[in-house]
Symmetry: C2
Subunit: 282 residues, 2 copies
C-alpha cells in the first residue's frame, strides 16, 4: 500500500509514523515545501520516498497535513490527479471551507474530512511521534459522503491507532472548536505578549515565573504559519467567542474595581467545576 503525506510537520509526520506502525507493508511517500523538513523526514525514517505530483496517481492514500489556507488551494487539483480508488484525508483544524470547496468535485466520495484533536506546541518532523493520536478524539465531518469502502478502511485505521471517533457537522465543528482550541491559543498568545511587553527590560521577572505561567503561555509557542490561516478561516466564530471572553474579563475587572471580592470568590468557585470536565481530557 502506497501512502503519500503532504506536509511533514508534527501532524503529518506523526500520522506517517502511526501508519508505519499500524498498516502492514505500507510504503511512505512524503513532501514538504521546506527542504530542511523534507531531509529531516528521511533522516528520522518518517518517509521512504519523496512524493511528487507525478506519484499522486500511484497512491492508495494521501494525507493532506499542511496549513489550512494551503489545503484550500491544493485540494481540487489533488482530487483531479488521484486515481479512482485513492482516499484523500484532510486533517486541518477548520472544516467548513474545505468541505464546501470539494462538495461538487466528481471525486467527492474519495475525500474524508477529519480533525484529529491532538498536537503539541512544537512543530516540524522532529516534533512528530508515533503515539501522538493514541487515546485522542478524531472528528469526522460529512463521512456519509465518503465512499463506504474507503470510509470503513479509514475508520478501522483510526481505531487501530486508539482514536475515539465522533461525527460532527462541519459548521458545528468550527463553532465548537473556536471555544476549546482557537480561543485558548489567542488567550495564550496575548498573555505572552502582555508579559513580554512589560518586562522586556526587566529580566528579573522571568525568574519569578513558575509552572503556572508556563502552562498558560505554553500555546504561545505555536506556529504563526499554522495558526494565522485557522484564525482567518474561522474568523466569524472566533470573533464571537473572543468578545465573550473579553466581556468576562471586563466583568472580573469591574468586580475588582468595586472591591466586590465576594463575587470574585463566587466566580472562581463556579469555574472550579471545570475540574470534572478536564478529568476526561488526555
Amino acid at each position: 500500500m502506497n501512502i503519500g503525506v503532504i506536509g511533514l510537520g508534527l501532524i503529518g509526520g506523526s500520522l506517517a509514523l502511526a501508519a508505519r506502525k499500524h498498516i502492514k507493508g505500507c510504503v511512505l511517500y512524503g513532501e514538504d515545501q521546506s527542504e530542511i523538513h523534507q531531509n529531516q523526514a528521511f533522516e528520522l525514517k518518517i518517509i521512504n520516498h519523496s512524493l511528487k505530483p507525478s506519484n499522486y496517481s500511484a497512491m492508495d492514500l494521501i494525507i493532506l497535513a499542511i496549513p489550512v489556507d494551503a489545503s484550500l488551494e491544493v485540494v481540487l487539483p489533488l482530487l483531479d490527479q488521484i486515481n479512482d480508488n485513492t482516499l484523500l484525508i484532510d486533517v486541518g483544524s477548520t472544516k467548513s471551507m474545505i468541505c464546501k470547496k470539494i462538495e461538487l468535485h466528481p471525486k467527492r466520495n474519495q475525500f474524508l474530512a477529519t480533525h484529529p484533536i491532538a498536537g503539541t506546541e512544537f512543530s516540524g518532523p522532529s516534533a512528530a511521534f508515533e503515539t501522538l493520536y493514541s487515546g485522542k478524539a478524531q472528528i469526522l465531518c460529512e463521512s456519509n459522503k465518503t465512499r463506504p469502502d474507503l470510509l470503513e478502511w479509514a475508520v478501522q485505521w483510526f481505531k487501530n491507532m486508539g482514536m475515539q471517533l465522533q461525527e460532527m457537522d462541519p459548521k458545528e465543528h468550527d463553532k465548537h472548536i473556536a471555544y476549546v482550541s482557537h480561543l485558548s491559543h489567542i488567550s495564550s498568545f496575548m498573555l505572552g505578549k502582555t508579559v513580554m511587553e512589560k518586562e522586556q527590560d526587566e529580566k528579573a521577572i522571568f525568574d519569578m515565573a513558575g509552572s503556572g505561567f508556563a502552562s498558560t503561555v505554553r500555546l504561545a509557542k505555536s506556529s504563526p504559519s499554522m495558526w494565522t490561516p485557522i484564525f482567518e478561516q474561522n474568523q466569524a466564530n472566533i470573533l464571537e467567542v473572543l468578545a465573550e471572553y473579553i466581556a468576562n474579563l471586563e466583568e472580573f475587572k469591574s468586580l475588582m474595581e468595586q472591591k466586590d471580592f465576594k463575587s470574585v470568590y463566587d466566580k472562581i468557585q463556579q469555574t472550579n467545576s471545570i475540574k470534572e470536565i478536564l478529568a476526561g481530557i488526555n
Copy 2:
C-alpha cells in the same frame, strides 16, 4: 528542633515534608482550620503533633502558610506569642501588606517574608509532596531586617532544599508577580468560565477539547479561598496588568475584524520568542 506549620495545605504540607527530609531530628507540629485536613496530615505523616497556641512559645520555627488575608490577621498575635529565638517565616503570594503590618513589631527581626514560586493547581495535605520546592525560585523580601543568625539558618535550609534565592523589594515583588502569576490565573479562570457558560448544554464540545485547552485552563481549578485574598491584596497591580491584557485582546480582535491577517501573523511570531523565556522555567 520544634517546627510548627500553620496551614497544612499544598504549600505548608510540602514545606513540612521538606523539613522532615532536610532538618535532622526535627519534630513537626501542625494546625489547620479544617479538621479533615488536620487528620489527613497525621495520616500522611506530614506532622507528629497538633500545634496549639499554647505550643507557640516552644517552637524554634513557625511557618505561616494560610491564605494571605488570614495571615494578616494572625501575624501580630503570633509574633507576640513566640519566644525570643523563634523564627517566623511567611510564604504568601503577596508581600507588601504583610511586611507593612509587622514593620513596627518588637520582634520584627524574627520574621522572614518569603515567596516560594512553586505550586500546583491542587490543594490540601494530600496534594503536598517533599520535592515541590526543589529547583524552584525563593523570593526573600527585606531579609536585611531579619536577625542574621535566623536568616542564615533559613537560607541554608532553602539551599538544602534546592531552591534558588533572590532578594526583592516587597512592592516590586507584588508588581512583577501580578504579571507572571496573578494574571495567568485570571486569564485561566475566565477562559474556563467562557467555555463553560457557552457549552453547558452541549456536552459534546468537551470531547473536542485537547491538551492545549487543558493546559490553558489548568489554573482554573485553583482554590478561591487562596486566590480571592491574593487578588484583594494586590488589587492595584492586578487592575493595571488586567487592563493591558484586555487591551491586547481588543487589538487582536480589531485586527481580525479588519481581516488584517498579516498583522495577526506578525503578532504571533513576535510572541513566539517566549520560547526562550519558558525554556528557563521548571
